[in-house]
């Protein structure tokens, strides 16, 4: 659940334990790209759909990596699951994020859904509902940079950058240079403030 560190820019500078360095993040993305290529016979018919905001950045990075290895990049888009969330009524209305489905649409595509952190699975559930309103993909797979456990729904990722056992009250901070100025993944304990 990417929400755990959203709205927390202070996290970027706090003394949290490093799980992945910038170089690790680059290597991990390259590995996931290879896995996607392997599983999909050269990534033909693949459409990468990121979950904003950092999932969308990761989707673009994966596309760049696939282009580097295979010569051509798959279409990239983003789908904001906010309008499909099951916890909208529990918080004040949230701002919506970008939705951009590639021109070819999603019908009969092999959609790889991309997010930074997988936790409860509720964001992914909402994203799956959003996807099915945009078209009927041949199949949907899930790629995440970090799986931190604590699933609340029967959802698993097909490609995982790093499995991190966490306590519920810990926070995973995913930093990406496009948004945060540098790459990295950190773990922060609760009560540890910047």
């Amino acid at each position: 659940m990417a929400d755990d560190r959203r709205g927390d820019p202070a996290g970027a500078t706090s003394p949290a334990r490093e799980l992945l360095s910038a170089a690790d993040v680059t290597r991990t993305i390259a590995r996931i790209a290879h896995q996607i290529i392997e599983k999909t016979a050269g990534a033909s018919g693949v459409v990468l759909i990121g979950i904003p905001t950092r999932g969308a950045v990761l989707a673009q990075r994966l596309a760049d990596a696939i282009a580097e290895f295979e010569g051509s990049a798959p279409p990239v888009g983003s789908v904001d699951p906010t309008l499909y969330r099951d916890d909208l009524r529990r918080r004040p209305a949230r701002a919506l994020e970008d939705t951009a489905v590639p021109d070819g649409g999603l019908d009969d595509a092999l959609v790889v859904l991309v997010d930074d952190v997988l936790m409860s699975g509720r964001t992914v559930r909402a994203a799956l509902d959003a996807l099915s309103d945009h078209g009927r993909p041949r199949a949907v797979q899930l790629a995440v940079l970090v799986d931190r456990g604590h699933r609340e729904l029967p959802i698993r990722a097909d490609d995982v950058g790093k499995n991190v056992p966490t306590a519920r009250d810990e926070q995973i901070l995913v930093l990406l240079s496009e948004i945060d100025g540098s790459d990295g993944v950190r773990l922060r304990r609760s009560g540890e403030d910047g």
């Binding site: 309008l83 009524r89 529990r90 919506l96 939705t99 489905v101 309103d133």
Partner: protein
């Protein structure tokens, strides 16, 4: 945001947030076969119109339906209003039925404010959370029209801050003008009003707008011009000698439209009286954004419903 009664309740950040949400909703629905979002499932939205309307009422109804709210229409004709029920009783009845949102249009200025006051006082005893949206109250305000105009201008001009927007015509009777002046000023635009002196309200000098006297002199420096409808139904006196004279002084003819800069946008809140406040050839030209206003209206109203109803009650 609990109610949407007046654009003066919106600061720049809130207004921009609503416009951003409208953009995102437009994106989310773009090119889809199924234009339906589950966001407001189980919410009840009632439109209560004491005045005739096509676009506002339909637009709110579509906005609610596209987000899966249950929408119910009440009009003064055919409801208990015609039996003499007061606005207060009608609205408290609708609130007691569990309406999450009542969208009200009323010929009396301030009607939506009064309604919100009654509902809020009633909340203490009944515990219901009903949001009120002002869909036009007399000559006072029409906040969602101003928001959809702002959305259209932002779209076409790339921004609103620093742009010069002319509002032309029957300012006196126009809630659209009033809402637009205050919202556009909040968003940093420079607003110029051009109207016959008889159709300017008392106290217009207190508005965040400049009053221009001659339309032809203003047009070359405008980024957008908003033509207002001449509200014959609200005119109980003679404000100008004849329709023809009005058209000569304040109508946007093709010759006049040619004075506008090339990038300028022509808006009209509708319904248009073609040939009087706007020439048909101008209304159908590429610089006119009149139909874009209508489609933006649905997305802006979806955004309003989203901000009022999707989150936890305040």
């Amino acid at each position: 945001m609990k109610h949407l009664l007046s654009v003066t309740d919106l600061d720049a950040a809130t207004a921009t947030g609503l416009l951003d949400t409208a953009d995102r909703l437009k994106q989310a629905l773009l090119g889809r076969e199924v234009r339906k979002l589950p966001t407001l499932r189980g919410r009840t939205v009632i439109t209560m119109f004491y005045e005739d309307s096509t676009r506002t009422r339909v637009s709110f109804e579509i906005a609610g339906k596209w987000m899966s709210a249950d929408t119910v229409n009440v009009s003064a004709k055919g409801s208990s209003v015609s039996k003499g029920e007061s606005l207060r009783d009608t609205s408290l009845t609708l609130s007691a039925m569990g309406a999450d949102c009542v969208i009200v249009r009323h010929p009396a200025s301030g009607a939506a404010h009064r309604l919100a006051g009654w509902i809020d006082r009633d909340r203490a005893t009944t515990g219901t959370h009903t949001s009120i949206v002002n869909a036009g109250d007399g000559t006072h305000e029409h906040p969602t029209q101003a928001l959809l105009d702002a959305a259209t201008l932002r779209d076409r001009l790339g921004g609103i801050a620093g742009r010069r927007i002319g509002i032309v015509g029957d300012v006196l009777h126009s809630r659209v003008a009033r809402s637009n002046v205050f919202l556009l000023a909040t968003l940093g635009a420079e607003v110029v009003l051009v109207a016959p002196p008889t159709l300017l309200p008392v106290g217009v000098d207190q508005w965040p707008a400049r009053v221009g006297t001659e339309l032809d002199a203003e047009l070359p420096a405008l980024d957008a011009v908003m033509m207002l409808r001449v509200q014959a139904e609200r005119m109980h006196g003679s404000f100008f000698p004849s329709a023809r004279e009005y058209a000569i002084g304040y109508g946007l003819s093709a010759e006049r439209a040619a004075l506008l800069p090339e990038h300028a946008v022509v808006l009209h809140p509708g319904p248009m009286v073609r040939g009087m406040e706007i020439a048909p050839s101008v209304a159908d030209s590429a610089s006119a954004a009149i139909l874009a206003q209508v489609s933006n209206g649905v997305h802006v109203r979806m955004a309003v419903l989203y901000h009022l109803l999707a989150g936890a009650p305040e």
